[in-house]
Every structure is written in structure tokens, then in C-alpha cells.
């Protein structure tokens, strides 16, 4: 009897914190969602509705502004530019990082530690801080107003993080595998291409996810490098659009929502890789 009571007690006591937990989390959830929901509402209002009631639920929703943004050639051009820059940066980062990490993690040579430390320098110098020096160098190399300039700089500043992640992963692959492939007549490149890359897909996907999110969202490099409107990426274009149409908030909301959709879709697809990459190694001891 008394034993039973104790169990009921424990059961009861344990339920209260769980409810409190959900209350706390729901409050945070609402705070996170408010800015997103308000701009979502704004994007389906007419200019007049927005002026009279900017943050109420739009009934019925009016799709004119979204449709107008979707009809703009410049919007699609920005999507295209951002896709190009992000795709090239992602591929470049994965390729270059995997090659250098292979050499550092799987081959013996003098100065290996030095090369590793050198390639992780970028962790200390984020591109925002180094932007003027980088811009001056890009100008000398005729990379200003050129999407290749953005791609190369984005890639260069993603190398450090990618090298750290891939170096750790490559080290964990048993050396017997490498020896066996050499005995079977594989070259170092053959081992890298046929075996290592295939075994390392999760780690490569992680590096790709982080590079993609960085490149898609970065404003700084396109802002200083790209003058011509037809080269603008989405963040730069969104900023200019806001500057130009700042008073037409319904329109700006529509633009912002549409420019956020690709990122959100991308996020839902690569969430797992992104999270494992961002938490990689930060969980030791």
C-alpha cells in the first residue's frame, strides 16, 4: 500500500517538471516564430492592408505581391547567381579539402603538422575581418565584379573548417585498407578516389552542408566585389531591394519570404549533415 503510494507520488512529481519544460519551450518557440510569421502575413497583404493592419492575420490572403516578385527577372537572376556561387563553392571546398586532408591524414611527409596548422589559420581570420585585404588582392587579380571572385574567396575561407573535419575523419579509417589497396596496385590517387571518398560520404556531406549554408547566406563578399546588378546574389539583392522599396513593406515582405524559401528547403534537406558538422569535435570531454 505505502509502496504503491510512493510510486504514484514519484509519477506525479515527475510529471510536473515535464509540463514546465513544455511551457518554457513553447514560449521560446513562439518568440522564435513571431518575426517569421509576421513577415509571412505581410507578404500576403496588399499595400493598403499592410498600412492599416501590418501584423494581423491576412484574411483572405492576397497573392499579388508574391506574384509580382516571381515575375521579376532580377529575382530569378539572383536565385541563379546564388545557386551558381553556392554550388561551385560547395564542390570546390569538398574537392580541395578532401585532397589536402588526404595528404595530411594518410601520407607521411616532413612539415605535415606545419601544413595542417597553416591550413587551419582561417579559423582565426573570418572573412568579415579580412575583407579589405581580400578585396585589394581580388582587385589585383581582376576578380572584382566577377562571380569567380566570390566563389574563390568563399572556398578559401571554408577550407580551414573542412580540413579540420575531414582530417579527423580520414585518420579514423584503418590503414590496413590503404596498404591492401596499394598491394592490389592502387595508386595514392586511386585509393583516394575509389575507396576513401566512398567511405567518407557522411563527412564530405557535412563539409558540403556547412560550405553551402555559408556561401548562400554571405553578404560581405558579394557586397564588396559585385557592382553589376546582373551579378547580384540573393542576400545582396535582398538588401538592395529593401533599400529601394523600403517604404513598400508588403512588397519587401514578399521578397524576403521568397528569398528565404530556398534556404529553408535546403536546411530541411541537409539538417542532419549540417548539425553533425557544427557539433563535430565540440563534444569531446
Amino acid at each position: 500500500m505505502s509502496e504503491d503510494n510512493r510510486y504514484i507520488n514519484i509519477g506525479f512529481r515527475r510529471k510536473i517538471p515535464v509540463i514546465i519544460k513544455y511551457i518554457i519551450l513553447s514560449i521560446v518557440l513562439i518568440i522564435i516564430l513571431i518575426p517569421i510569421v509576421i513577415i509571412l502575413f505581410g507578404s500576403v497583404k496588399t499595400r493598403g492592408d499592410f498600412l492599416t493592419s501590418p501584423y494581423t492575420i491576412p484574411i483572405p490572403p492576397r497573392w499579388e505581391n508574391l506574384a509580382e516578385v516571381l515575375k521579376m527577372n532580377t529575382f530569378w537572376k539572383m536565385i541563379l547567381n546564388s545557386t551558381l556561387v553556392t554550388a561551385a563553392t560547395t564542390i570546390g571546398t569538398v574537392l580541395i579539402c578532401s585532397l589536402s586532408s588526404f595528404a595530411i591524414a594518410r601520407m607521411k611527409f616532413r612539415g605535415r603538422t606545419f601544413v595542417f596548422n597553416f591550413l587551419t589559420l582561417g579559423l582565426m581570420f573570418p572573412v568579415t575581418i579580412a575583407i579589405l585585404p581580400v578585396y585589394l588582392a581580388a582587385r589585383k587579380l581582376a576578380l572584382v565584379d566577377n562571380l569567380w571572385g566570390v566563389i574563390l574567396i568563399h572556398t578559401a575561407f571554408q577550407l580551414s573548417f573542412g580540413t579540420v573535419i575531414l582530417n579527423n575523419f580520414f585518420k579514423s579509417i584503418p590503414s590496413e585498407l590503404q596498404d591492401a589497396s596499394y598491394i592490389d596496385g592502387c595508386s595514392a590517387f586511386g585509393f583516394y578516389w575509389h575507396i576513401l571518398v566512398r567511405l567518407s560520404r557522411p563527412a564530405l556531406a557535412t563539409v558540403a552542408a556547412i560550405a553551402a549554408v555559408f556561401s548562400w547566406n554571405d553578404l560581405m563578399v558579394p557586397l564588396v566585389l559585385l557592382n553589376s546588378e546582373e551579378l547580384w546574389t540573393l542576400p545582396l539583392g535582398t538588401m538592395q531591394f529593401q533599400g529601394q522599396y523600403g517604404t513598400d513593406w508588403a512588397m519587401v515582405s514578399a521578397f524576403v519570404i521568397l528569398s528565404a524559401i530556398p534556404a529553408v528547403i535546403l536546411y530541411l534537406f541537409i539538417q542532419r549533415q549540417l548539425i553533425s558538422g557544427l557539433t563535430a569535435g565540440s563534444i569531446k570531454g
Binding site: 519551450l25 513577415i39 595528404a103 601520407m107
Partner: protein, 312 residues
Amino acid sequence: MKAKRDDDISRTEPRESRYIKLKDRLTITWFLLPAIALFLIFLVYPIIQSIYYSLFDWKGFGPAVDFIGLGHYIRILTDKIFLKAIGNNLIIVVLSLAIQLPIALMLALVVGRKLRGRGFFRTVFFMPYILSEVITAIMWMFLYNADPDRGFINAIITLIPGLEARAWLGELNLVLPAIFVVLTWKYFGFHMLIYMAGLQNIPTEVEEAALIDGANKRQLITHVTLPLLGGTIRTSVYLSVLGSLQVFALVWIMTKGGPVNASELMSTYMYRFSFIRFELGYGSAVAIVMLIIALIFSLTYRRILARPDYLA
């Protein structure tokens, strides 16, 4: 037969290994070349070049000829606005460490390991991190609008008797806290994610053992969970400080560093002198000062508080 084969191997081995070594060296060179080249072109060379330019009064056209030595550096370190910018960066760092990270840690502990809906909360809380700073800035400019008929925050506040609408981004002593709220909104999910991964890595046996030994919930967290999270917390602090040095787009779009430099950061200061006024010599010197600050921070942090784990 067997002996002969052994013989063969011992005879061919030296030659073959020398061949492999040469081939390996070529492979290593080719494998490292793209990464090292990109780094030399876009990191090392630019920094060295900027150190050179920082010694000249140079507007960005033609060769740099007006040598002024350390003049720019003296001007930077005596410029009240730059010192104000350093101060603002520091305020953001302190607020992040004192408010943002504890919130993230607390929420990670609340979600814990087994709560139902854990994945859902993580997905939503992390969402602001993947929206660009540009989108974040525009969204919050709507919310912060000074007119209570337009801005959601003022609309809520004016519902409470005795409180009146404020120009959140326009008042000298409100603008920095207002920006910090946006930074917290955007980045706490990232730190929460790191802490959740760290918690996941603590063996449940350790905590169970403490509970069996009679520890209560609070003791468990302060004496077992937090010490075991030490490495994770160090990493999160490192990333947070380095991250607050990088804040730019958010502030530039919302306030341009204003009003009257009240939200000026080193990054907006550097951007204004470099790309608006085109004082590239002076801008170079500012960039070098910022790089030195980042370098000093990274090196001391690594030396004193041990390496952030993600470099280990």
C-alpha cells in the same frame, strides 16, 4: 622456391620504395597545392599587402606613395569612434557570454536527452541560424518600427499601461540592447545545438551513479553534468567571441552603426572607411588591428584555456 621469392622482394624493395617515394612526393604536392595556393592568394598575400598599404596615405588609385609610417595606427588608437566600436564589440561579447550562452545551456538541459518532441524543438530553434543576416535584419526592422501602428513590439508594449512606444533602433541607449536581442534570436539555437550534442556524449551511467549516491537534481547538474560539459562550453565560448567580431550585415542594414555611432562595431567602422570613404590605407590599418585582436584572442584562449576541442 620460397627462399627465392624472399630474395626477390629484398632485392626489389629498395628500388621500388624509392620510386614510390618520388611518386608519393609528387602526389602530396599535387594534393596540397590547391589548398595552399588558395590560402596564399586569399589570406597570406592580402594580409602582407595590407600591412604595406597601412603605412601609406592611399586612396586606392595609383601606387601608394605618401608614406606616413605608423600614423594610421596612432590615428586608430586615438580615434574616439574606433574605441567606441571596440567597446561596443566588447559589450556584445559580454552580453553573449552572460545571457545568450546561459539561455542556450539552460534550454539544452530542459530539452535533455529523452523529451518527446526533442527533434522538433531543435529544428525550429535552429531555424534562425540558417536564415541570412540580411533576412533577419529586415524582419526585425519591421518588428522594431517606432510607430506602434506599424511595429509589433511597440504595439505589444503600448498595451501595457504606463509604457510607451520607443524608437528601438533610434535611441542611443536602446540600440545596442535591441541589436543584441536580434543576435540572441539568431544564434542561441546554434549554441543550444552544441550543448545538446555535448549532453548526448555524457554517459548516462555517470549520472545514474550520482543519483544512486544520493545527489539531487541540482547537485547532479552543478557537480556532474556541467563539469563534464567543460570542453563543450569552452568551444561555445570561443565560437561566440569570434562570432561577435564578425557581426556586420545585421548591424549595417539595421542601423549603419548609428545613431551617432551608438551601434558602431569594428566591422562597420572598417567597412565605412574602406568602402564608403575609400580611405584604403587607413582601412588597411583598421583591418590589421582587427586581425591582430582576433589573433591575440585565439592564441591566448588556446594557450590559457586549452585548445577549443574542435581543433584537437
